[in-house]
């Protein structure tokens, strides 16, 4: 067996991919971190305390891993699911009862819940170790935006099964927008935006309407949330994740006592 492994590792194909021998000695362990695209997010060496599990809890990493799980399972779910009133619920039913490997939706849903929890735990750890303090202030701000995006991802995804649980949770949640000050149909001060006796803020032009694309949770909302859930928010999150990781390195690496 050893010789087969050896043959593979000395072949031209292997060498063309990795460019250097297995990371078994000190030199190659350094080289692997510098030459591998996926590993180059990391530094080459790191303080021992900075990677102690009792210190970091690994929650930021787990959150990112769950984001990847959501991306993969989400793409697979998009093969089966059509965001229309006619098909949305039936596709989810079929996904459970007819499709083989029928735990795809379970994986997606539970990983989503887990991602909300791990995001909170990650922030909890960062706060408790004072890791938001200079020079990491701005990365904490990016983290808060990522928290918001995580919640919005979960919220928009909640509607897609188009069952009673989904539509009413979104109805309750989005009813809040109706009460937005000045911009909400039932919010305080909406009378302020009256021009020439004509109300600018009605139930067909207020903040809630903008969120739902309609006066109540309906087909327009399903389409809007689907696009937000599958394209707009993940792209924004991916961009901010990249900046978040890059800033970890630029702001002095993983935190520790000065």
């Amino acid at each position: 067996m050893a010789s087969i492994g050896e043959t593979i590792r000395t072949s031209q194909i292997w060498k063309s991919i990795f460019r250097h021998p297995m990371p078994l000695d000190r030199r190659n362990r350094i080289v692997v971190m510098l030459t591998n695209f996926f590993l180059h997010l990391h530094p080459v060496s790191i303080k021992k305390q900075g990677i102690a599990l009792s210190f970091t809890w690994c929650m930021g990493g787990v959150t990112f891993f769950l984001f990847l799980v959501e991306t993969v399972t989400g793409v697979l779910l998009m093969f089966y699911y059509r965001p229309t009133l006619e098909w949305a619920y039936n596709d989810i039913l079929a996904l459970r009862d007819v499709t083989s490997l029928g735990i795809l939706r379970e994986l997606h849903r539970w990983a989503a819940h887990a991602m909300v929890i791990t995001t909170w735990l990650h922030m909890y750890r960062v706060f408790l170790t004072g890791s938001y303090k200079p020079p990491r202030e701005f990365n904490w701000v990016i983290g808060v935006i990522l928290l918001l995006l995580t919640l919005l991802l979960s919220f928009t995804g909640y509607l897609l099964p188009w069952d009673q649980l989904a539509i009413w949770a979104i109805t309750v949640g989005s009813n809040m927008a109706r009460a937005t000050p000045i911009l909400g149909y039932e919010g305080p001060g909406q009378q302020l935006l009256t021009i020439g006796g004509i109300d600018m803020i009605t139930d067909a032009s207020d903040a809630r309407f903008g969120l739902l694309g309609a006066r109540f949770v309906g087909e327009e909302t399903l389409n809007r949330f689907y696009v937000l859930h599958c394209i707009a928010i993940p792209l924004a999150a991916a961009l901010l994740l990249a900046i978040h990781f890059w800033r970890v390195r630029k702001d002095g690496g993983i935190s520790g006592p000065l």
């Binding site: 305390q49 787990v62 939706r105 539970w110 649980l165 539509i167 009413w168 809040m176 949770v217 006592p257």
Partner: protein
């Protein structure tokens, strides 16, 4: 109440596995302590956990018998008392007292054996409660399972952080550096970190797969915009916000406060001028920011989510943990607005009302007069209190932060405290709104 033999038969298999797991957990603890029995008290604790494991095995066999009368459960009397005693006031005050006790006596509670005892007690109470049909039907709802997990994980991680902070605080008091400083030699990322990440990914994947196989994702009836479920709940992570709707109107509880939470979180690094406690666990070096954060996170965010998920039923009424969620439960609503209290109750005269046909300006004046008690109170709370605090308790804060940073910090804090203050006003004097201007949809 609604418990019957059939439910207990259904749940007995789960409870059997549950108690067996607790037995295993304690068995492992006993063996580990036995190996280190030269440590002080190690032998005694080892025996205690071994006995606990045996008791859990007995409970497991009772549960697995499948006979309804044998399944370990809390006595009906206890459940009734818990139901009768519980309410929003007891719950909120109780969690606050519990968190305060845990914080004040943290040196005691972080001791491994004390924490382990706490874990055992909460797991056993959980198991005994699970034999109650009403409790189980809420806790085992598929989308609620993550919240149960969240509670245990938060307890664990808070313990983990606090026990390290306690050690560090002791060292700092002795003039030693924090323990994190002891290991600042460098190691290579390959293999030390890369392998940790790999193992983490495998563990999370395995956990997710098991979770997905054993717990089906919820799918209810097809959506219908005419059939409103009772209760209608937002997704679980927003239930703290939904709970705030009991005390505030949607514009504040659903729009302004959440925006302030996000803004306040972002502002933390720019408001916290304390240079100490950067990069290691410590409480004594940053007591103020620690207490404010924990109050906001654990008390105002997490316990409200738990309340909103597990204890709020039809019509958003409060239900005890073992109470049947009856849609017919009636709650007395006798809340009164402050103007009503002031003009009618205190001065014994009708609410100021503009004469018919008066101009818009005149009407506004009358509204201001009517709402003057609340507006003056609110005004002094948000405008007068910050400068007053700046020259008293926050004197050193003010001098270090400067005017703008100080005002942002103090107002964010006062707005955060508006929630518990409103709760207290509601519970003590049945206050509905401090300011109520329905003419502008502005109630506070």
């Amino acid at each position: 109440m609604h418990s019957n033999g059939l439910f207990l038969q259904d749940v007995s298999g789960f409870l059997g596995v549950y108690y067996t797991s607790i037995a295993l957990m304690n068995g492992v603890a006993a063996v580990l302590l036995w190996r280190n029995s030269q440590q002080k008290g190690g032998f005694l604790w080892s025996v205690i956990w071994a006995i606990t494991a045996c008791v859990m095995l007995v409970l497991a066999s009772f549960a697995l018998s499948g006979v309804a009368e044998m399944v370990p459960a809390l006595p009906a009397v206890v459940r009734d008392i818990v139901n009768k005693l519980s309410g929003p006031v007891i719950y909120t005050v109780g969690t606050m007292v519990m968190l305060t006790v845990l914080f004040v006596f943290r040196e005691f509670f972080v001791k491994p054996m004390v924490a382990w005892t706490g874990l055992n007690i909460s797991l056993i109470v959980m198991g005994l409660s699970m034999a109650d049909e009403n409790f189980a039907s809420i806790v085992m709802k598929a989308d609620n399972v993550p919240i149960v997990g969240l509670v245990f994980m938060l307890a664990f991680f808070t313990w983990l952080a606090t026990s390290q902070a306690v050690v560090n605080d002791r060292r700092i008091a002795q003039g030693l550096p924090p323990t994190e400083k002891l290991h600042d030699e460098k190691v290579l990322v390959w293999p030390d970190l890369v392998y940790t990440e790999l193992i983490c990914m495998i563990a999370v994947s395995a956990f997710l797969l098991l979770w997905a196989i054993y717990l089906r994702a919820p799918l209810e009836e097809p959506a219908s915009s005419v059939k409103t479920p009772n209760p209608s709940k937002a997704p679980w992570y927003f239930l703290g916000l939904q709970e705030m709707l009991v005390y505030f109107d949607p514009w504040y509880a659903g729009v302004v406060l959440p925006s302030l939470v996000i803004f306040g979180l972002m502002a933390i690094p720019y408001l916290d001028f304390n240079k100490k406690g950067n990069g290691y666990y410590s409480i004594s070096e940053r007591k103020f920011s620690y207490i404010v954060f924990q109050f906001g996170f654990l008390e105002l965010w997490i316990t409200l989510i738990i309340l909103g998920t597990f204890l709020r039923g039809p019509n958003w009424n409060f239900f005890g943990p073992f109470e049947y969620w009856s849609p017919y439960k009636v709650a007395v609503l006798n809340n009164v607005d402050l103007p009503q209290m002031f003009w009618v109750g205190l001065l014994d005269q009708p609410l100021p009302k503009s004469p018919a046909g008066s101009s818009g300006l005149m009407q506004a004046g009358y509204i201001l007069l009517r709402e003057s008690p609340g507006l003056i109170l609110l005004g002094s709370y948000l405008v007068l209190l910050p400068p007053l605090l700046a020259v008293t308790v926050f004197r050193s804060f003010y001098s270090k932060m400067g005017l703008i940073r100080y005002l942002v910090m103090s107002n964010l804090m006062l707005l955060m405290l508006s929630l518990p203050l409103k709760m207290i006003l509601r519970w003590t004097v049945n206050l509905k709104y401090l300011v109520s201007i329905p003419e502008f949809g502005l109630n506070f």
